[in-house]
Symmetry: C2
Subunit: 352 residues, 2 copies
C-alpha cells in the first residue's frame, strides 16, 4: 500500500462542507466578505492574467472553463449553463473550481462552486450596486425569481441597504418560492403580477432570467431616469434581456470587455459601443454614477477573477473550520522521476 504524501492530498470542499461553511459564517456576512475579497482583487485588476472564458457550446447549453492567475495563485472554474435542465429537475448552473500554486502547478483546493457561484454572482452584483446605484436606494425590483434570486436579494440588503424587493417571474411558482425563502430575512417582499408592477418605485432593477435566447425582459419605456439596472441573465451569445434602447440611454459598466462584448447585453450593440470597466471605478481611476438622473447599467456576465476571489476566501477558511476532506489526487512518488516505480511498487499490495 502506498501512503500518499502531504502534497499528494488536495483539500476538497463538498457541497455539504460549503453549506456548513455558509452557516458557520452566516450568509449575509459571507456575502459581505465576498464583496470585500472581490473589491480587493478588482483594485489590482492589471495584475491578473485575463482571458475570455473557454466555452463549448451545444444547442441546449454551454460548458465553460474560466481560468485566471495573479502570478502567485492560479484558479479556474468549470461551469455549465443549461436552461432546459430545470424541466429535467436539474440545476441550470452547476460548477466546481480549483486553486493551484503557480510556483509548482500543484492544486491546493478543489471546491464545489454551484453554491459558491450563486454567492459570488450576488456579491459581484451588490458590489457594482454599491458603486453605481443611486444614493439612498431602498427598493429593488427582481425580474426572474429562479435559483439566483434570493442570493441577489440578501446581497443587496447586506451591502447596499436595500430594504424591499419586488418580485416578478413568468412562473408564479418561482415567485412564491422566493417569497417563502425570504420570509424572516428582514426584507419587505412584494410579489407582483407584471414586470411593470415590480419596477414601480424601484431604484434598482435586477434582471435574472435563464432562457437561452434573445428576450426583452425590460422594454425601453419601463426604465425611468436615475435607476440602476443589474442585468445578470444576459450572459452568453444569443442570450440578452434588455431592449437596445435602454443600453443607449445608460452608462454601461462591465467586467471584462472582450468577454462581455460576446456574451453580455452589449452583444446587441456595435463593437465600439462605449463601456466602462468596473474595476476602474473601484480602483478610483474613473467615476461611477455621475448624477442622480443617470441610468447606470451593470452588464454582468461573470468573470474568472470573481471566482478566484471566492475560492481564495474559501481556502482561507479551511484551517480555521476544517470543513474539507483530503483527496488523493496528485501522484507524488518519493523520487519525482520515478512515477513508474511508484506505480510498479504498488502492485504487490494490489494483488494481496
Amino acid at each position: 500500500m502506498t501512503t500518499p504524501s502531504r502534497l499528494a492530498l488536495v483539500p476538497f470542499v463538498s457541497v455539504d462542507d460549503m453549506m456548513r461553511l455558509v452557516h458557520r459564517i452566516g450568509i449575509e456576512r459571507f456575502l459581505t466578505d465576498l464583496v470585500a475579497e472581490i473589491e480587493a482583487d478588482f483594485r489590482r485588476w492589471p495584475q491578473f492574467d485575463k482571458t475570455p472564458r473557454v466555452a463549448s457550446h451545444s444547442e441546449i447549453g454551454v460548458i465553460e472553463l474560466m481560468p485566471t492567475s495573479d502570478g502567485q495563485t492560479y484558479g479556474f472554474k468549470y461551469v455549465n449553463g443549461h436552461p432546459g435542465n430545470m424541466k429535467k429537475g436539474l440545476q441550470t448552473v452547476t460548477a466546481f473550481g480549483l486553486l493551484a500554486d503557480v510556483a509548482t502547478g500543484y492544486p491546493v483546493l478543489l471546491s464545489e462552486m454551484t453554491i459558491l457561484t450563486a454567492l459570488r454572482t450576488a456579491a459581484t452584483s451588490a458590489m457594482a450596486g454599491k458603486w453605481l446605484a443611486p444614493k439612498g436606494a431602498r427598493v429593488m425590483a427582481m425580474i426572474g425569481n429562479g435559483a439566483q434570486a434570493e442570493f441577489q436579494a440578501l446581497a443587496f440588503k447586506a451591502v447596499c441597504g436595500i430594504t424591499e424587493v419586488r418580485l416578478y417571474d413568468i412562473d408564479p411558482a418561482a415567485t412564491a418560492k422566493c417569497v417563502a425563502n425570504l420570509a424572516g430575512s428582514g426584507l419587505t417582499v412584494t410579489p407582483c403580477r407584471t414586470a411593470e408592477e415590480a419596477i414601480m418605485g424601484a431604484q434598482v432593477v435586477t434582471t435574472c432570467t435563464a432562457d437561452k435566447q434573445y428576450a426583452t425582459i425590460l422594454t425601453d419605456n419601463m426604465i425611468g431616469e436615475g435607476v440602476h439596472i443589474n442585468a445578470v441573465g444576459g450572459d452568453c451569445p444569443g442570450k440578452t434581456e434588455l431592449a437596445p434602447g435602454i443600453l443607449t440611454r445608460s452608462a454601461v459598466f462591465v467586467e471584462y470587455p472582450p468577454q462581455t462584448r460576446v456574451e453580455g447585453e452589449i452583444q446587441q450593440m456595435p463593437e465600439d459601443f462605449p463601456v466602462t470597466e468596473l474595476w476602474q471605478v473601484i480602483a478610483g481611476q474613473t467615476g461611477g454614477r455621475t448624477d442622480a438622473r443617470q441610468i447606470t447599467l451593470f452588464d454582468s456576465v461573470g468573470f474568472a477573477v470573481e471566482d478566484f476571489s471566492a475560492l481564495r476566501y474559501v481556502h482561507g477558511k479551511l484551517s480555521e473550520t476544517g470543513l474539507c476532506q483530503m483527496l488523493d489526487m496528485i501522484a507524488d512518488p518519493d523520487d519525482p522521476r520515478d512515477l513508474f516505480g511508484m506505480l510498479m511498487r504498488a502492485a504487490p499490495a494490489r494483488a494481496a
Copy 2:
C-alpha cells in the same frame, strides 16, 4: 442533514484507484487498450470540438486546461509543466481530468491524470510509431530517462514490437532508475554513455527531456535515413529538442497543427512548414511512411482528444471494477430553482 441525490455524486478515481486499475488490467494491456481508444477517436477526428489548450505561463512553468467534446461527452484536463519541480522533489507534470454529459453539463467522472497522462502519452507515441515506424523496427533509443521513459518503453514493446531499448540521460541516475524499473519487462535494456551511442542501431528514436528551453538533444548528423523520431519533450513555447535540419529532412506528423505550431518542434520553422495530421493517416485519408529510407517524425505535444479517450476508457471500467469513490460535488436541490432553499434547510442540521 441533506443526503445528496444520485446526480449530485461524481465518481472520483484517486491515484490509488488508478494504480489498482492499472494492475487489475495489466499495464501492457492498459496501454494497448488506450491505443485502440485513441485510434477510434482519431478516426472520427472531425466530430470533435477542438481548440488549442489554454495555457497560463509563468517564468518557471505552465498550467494548462485542455478541453474537447464530441457532442455527447465533454472532457478536459488540468495539467501543469514545471521542469524545476524535480529539484524540489515534486513531479514535473501533474494532472487531473473530468468528463461531463453535454446534454446536462453535469460531470460524470473526476479522475487523477498524472499516471493516466503518462500512460496516454506513451500510448499516443506508440500509436504514431505503429503507423510511421519502419517495418520490423526492434530497437528504440530513448534520450531522456525521466518519469515518462518506462511508459514509452512498454508502450512501444506492446504496440510496435520493440524488443530493445537503448537509454541515455545527462543524469546517469535517471538511466539507472530506468534500467532497474525495466528489469523483468522482457525488454533488452542497454544503458549508454552518450546520445550518439544510444542511437546506434536504433530504428526508433524517442526524445523526452524536460528543460523548458531551446535545446538540441538531437543534432542533424545523428539521424540517418529510415529512422522514426518520436519527439515527446518539445511541448511548449520556447522548448524544443531537435536541430532544425532534422525537421527539414523529415516527414513531420502532428496532432493538431494550431497547437503544435506554437508548442512543438515545428515552432522553429516557418508558419507554412508542411505537416501531416496524424488522424488523417489513421483514418486512411493520407499515407504515413512512404518508403524505408524516409525519416518520419512525430512532433508530439499532447492533445485534448487523447485525454478524452483515456478518461472515457477509465470511465468505462468503473462499473466493472468499482475503483472509485463518490464525491458530493454537485448541489442538487429537489426543486432546481430552489438552491437557496436547499442551503437554508441545511441550517438546522448544521447547528445541531
